[in-house]
Subunit: 91 residues, 2 copies
C-alpha cells in the first residue's frame, strides 16, 4: 500500500473539532501494543502526535490539524502510514 | 510509597460509569511513553487493562471494575502502583 494524498479506508473526517478519526481493533493486547509502538515511532519522525485512546484490543486515533485547525496533507499522510502499520501488524 | 487499599493522591472515583480516574501530565513525549510502557507491564501482570487516553504530554487513566461494575481492591491497587510508576518516571 502506497501513501497518496487520499484518506485511507475507514478513516473519517470529523467536523468539530476538525480532525481525522479511525478506530482500529486487534485480536490481542500484544497486537494493540505493537501498533502503538509503531505509531510512537511515526510520531517521533513526523512530530505529529495524535490523540490516542486505547484499551486491551482497540486504538482510537484522532488527528487534529496544526494549532487545532483543519487537518492538512501531513495529517492525511500520517493516517495513511498508520493504516499501513495496522495492516502490517495483523496476521 | 507503599500501596495500601486507599486511593492515591489525585485519583477520583467517578460515579457513571463506575470507575477510578486520574490524569497524569508529563514534560515530554519520552516521559509519557515511559509511563505507558510501565503501565503495559502492570497490565500484563495484573490482567487489568484500563482505558487510556493520551497525546504527547498527558495520559488519562480510567479504571473500571470487572464486567463494568464497581472498581474494587484490585483496581485501587492498580491505581496505587500506577501512581508509584508516575513518580518514579519524573525527575
Amino acid at each position: 500500500m502506497s501513501c497518496t494524498l487520499q484518506l485511507p479506508d475507514g478513516w473519517k473526517p470529523v467536523a468539530s473539532p476538525p480532525s481525522l478519526f479511525r478506530r482500529y481493533e486487534f485480536g490481542s493486547y500484544a497486537e494493540t501494543r505493537e501498533f502503538l509502538d509503531r505509531l510512537a515511532l511515526l510520531s517521533e519522525e513526523t512530530r505529529i502526535y495524535p490523540d490516542l485512546g486505547f484499551a486491551r484490543t482497540y486504538v482510537n486515533v484522532t488527528l487534529r490539524g496544526p494549532g487545532g485547525g483543519m487537518p492538512g496533507p501531513a495529517e492525511v499522510e500520517f493516517a495513511c502510514r498508520a493504516a499501513t502499520m495496522a495492516v502490517a501488524g495483523l496476521p
